[in-house]
C-alpha cells in the first residue's frame, strides 16, 4: 500500500485537499508556509500592520471556507496568494467592494519557487527591479502597490498616457525575463 508521507512534506495541493475535509492542522501548515507573503504584500500596499493583519485573516479564511477557490491546475499557490492579496488590499485602500472573482485569477509562475531557492529568487527579482529605468519601475510600483490607473499615473507624472502603458508592460516583461520566461 502506498500512503502519503508526513504532512509537513505535503504539497500545497495536498494540503488544500485535506483542508477541503476540514483538516485544521493542514490549514496551519499552509498558513506557516505562506503567511509571510500575504502579510508582506498587504503591509506594502496598506502601510499599516493592523490593516495588513485584517487582510491576512480575510485571505486565509476565504481559503479555509472555500479551498476549491484555488485550482492547483491553474498556477502556483504563492503566486496566486500574492496577486489576490494585492487586489484585496487595493480594494481595501480604495474602500471599494472586491472587484475581481478570485477563482478566475490564474497566475503562471515559473520556476515554482520554494524552499532554499526562495531567498535567491527574491534577490534576483529585487536585482531586476533595481536595474530598471527609474520611471519604468516607478510606473510599475505605482500601478501595483498603490493601485493607480494608467490615467492617474499620467496625470501625476505629467507624461503621455501611451508612455505610461508602454512602461508598465515593459516592466512586466523585464520581470518575466528574470527567470528566462
Amino acid at each position: 500500500m502506498v500512503r502519503a508521507v508526513s504532512k509537513a512534506n505535503w504539497s500545497d495541493a495536498e494540503l488544500l485537499w485535506a483542508i477541503r475535509s476540514g483538516d485544521e492542522p493542514a490549514m496551519e501548515h499552509l498558513y506557516d508556509r505562506h503567511s509571510s507573503i500575504v502579510y508582506s504584500v498587504a503591509l506594502r500596499v496598506l502601510g499599516d500592520t493592523g490593516s495588513a493583519e485584517d487582510i491576512v485573516q480575510e485571505v486565509f479564511m476565504q481559503l479555509w471556507r472555500n479551498p476549491k477557490v484555488f485550482d492547483a491546475t491553474r498556477g502556483s499557490l504563492p503566486g496566486w496568494l500574492a496577486v489576490i492579496t494585492r487586489n484585496r488590499a487595493i480594494d481595501s485602500l480604495r474602500k471599494r467592494r472586491p472587484e475581481t472573482d478570485i477563482s478566475s485569477v490564474i497566475v503562471s509562475v515559473e520556476p515554482d519557487l520554494s524552499g532554499a531557492e526562495w531567498g535567491h529568487a527574491v534577490e534576483k527579482i529585487r536585482g531586476a527591479l533595481g536595474s530598471m529605468p527609474p520611471q519604468q519601475r516607478s510606473a510599475l510600483e505605482m500601478s501595483f502597490f498603490q493601485g493607480l490607473t494608467h490615467n492617474e499615473i499620467a496625470q501625476k507624472t505629467g507624461e503621455p498616457l501611451g508612455t505610461i502603458k508602454t512602461r508598465i508592460r515593459a516592466g512586466l516583461m523585464a520581470l518575466r525575463k528574470v527567470f528566462g520566461q
Binding site: M1, V2, R3, A4, V5, N9, S11, A13, E14, W17, R20, G22, E24, E28, Y31, D32, S35, S36, I37, Y39, S40, L43, T49, A52, E53, Q57, M61, R65, A72, T73, R74, G75, G79, W80, A82, V83, T85, N87, I106, V107, S108, E110, L113, I125, L140, S143, F144, F145, G147, L148, T149, K165, T166, I168, R169, L172, M173, L175, F179, Q181
Partner: protein
C-alpha cells in the same frame, strides 16, 4: 504563441485591474475567445506575483496565527460539508480483477516463453493464447476506460485520501499500479512512479496523469526483470518525466 498586438498593453493594465468600462469589457470579450491571450494574461499575472515577491520578508505577528486558528475553530464543523465521494474508487471486485490481471499476465509471459520453443509442435495452443491475450487486453481496457465507474469505500465519514496500490511480480518485472484521489497537477507537471530497489538508484516505473476524478493506472511499464523492490514512491516531475527523481516523493510505499 501570438498575442494580439492591439491588446498587448491593455492585457497588462487588465491584469493590474486598471481598466474600466468599455476598455475592460473589450478585453474580457477578447479573452473569452482567445486562448493565446488568456495564456499571456496568466503569464502577466505571474510577473505581478514576482513583483509582489520582491517585498516579502515581513512576518505577521504570532497573534495573527492565533486569530486565524480561533476563527477556524468557531466555524461550523466541516464534517457536514463532506459529501460522500461523488465518484468513487476501486471496488473489491476491481481489486480482485487487477490481481487476476497480474496473474494472467505472469502466466502468459511464462507460456509465451515456452511456446516459442514449442510453437511448431503445439500450433493449436496459439489459438487459446490469443484468446487469453484478448481477455487480458479487454481487462486492461476495462481498468483504464475513461467511462469506467469507480467507487471508493471508506469507513464512516473519513474523506478519501490520495492513495495508490502497486502490485509487483519480481521474476518477470510485471507491475500494475492503481491510484485514486490524486490531486490534479498543472499541465507542465506529471506524476512519476519509481521502483525503489533494495540497492541502487530508483528505477522509473511509469508516468501518469490522473483523470478529473483523481484516478490513474500504470499497467506493465517497461522495467527490468528480477529487481527486488524495497518499495515504490511517487514524485512530481516535469511533463516529459525524469530519469531520476528531481523532487521529494509525495507518496511512498509501506509494506503490507
Amino acid at each position: 504563441m501570438s498575442v494580439h498586438e492591439q491588446f498587448a498593453d491593455d492585457l497588462s493594465l487588465y491584469a493590474l485591474g486598471a481598466l474600466q468600462g468599455e476598455e475592460r469589457s473589450a478585453v474580457e470579450r477578447h479573452l473569452e475567445e482567445c486562448p493565446d491571450c488568456r495564456h499571456e494574461l496568466a503569464r502577466l499575472q505571474g510577473s505581478l506575483a514576482l513583483l509582489a515577491f520582491s517585498v516579502t520578508g515581513s512576518k505577521p505577528p504570532a497573534r495573527s496565527r492565533e486569530r486565524l486558528i480561533t476563527a477556524i475553530a468557531k466555524e461550523p464543523r466541516r464534517a457536514h460539508l463532506i459529501r460522500p465521494p461523488r465518484r468513487a474508487w476501486w471496488t473489491v471486485v476491481e481489486w480482485v480483477a487487477a490481481v487476476a490481471f497480474v496473474a494472467v499476465i505472469s502466466l502468459l509471459l511464462t507460456q509465451n516463453s515456452n511456446m516459442r520453443r514449442r510453437v511448431a509442435e503445439f500450433q493449436s495452443n496459439s489459438m487459446k493464447q490469443q484468446q487469453e491475450l484478448l481477455q487480458a487486453k479487454q481487462l486492461i481496457e476495462s481498468l483504464t476506460a475513461p467511462d469506467a465507474v469507480h467507487f471508493t469505500l471508506v469507513a464512516g465519514k473519513v474523506p478519501p485520501q490520495p492513495q495508490g496500490k502497486a502490485i509487483y511480480v519480481r521474476k518477470n518485472g510485471t507491475l500494475v499500479f492503481l491510484a485514486s484521489n490524486m490531486p490534479v497537477l498543472p499541465a507542465e507537471k506529471i506524476y512519476e512512479l519509481w521502483l525503489i530497489p533494495t540497492s541502487g538508484a530508483p528505477i522509473p516505473a511509469g508516468l501518469f496523469r490522473p483523470d478529473a476524478h483523481g484516478t490513474a493506472a500504470v499497467v506493465k511499464p517497461a522495467i527490468p526483470t528480477g529487481v527486488e523492490a524495497k518499495t515504490f514512491a511517487i514524485t512530481v516531475e516535469p511533463s516529459s518525466g525524469s530519469s531520476a527523481p528531481t523532487t521529494t516523493p509525495i507518496m511512498v510505499g509501506v509494506g503490507e
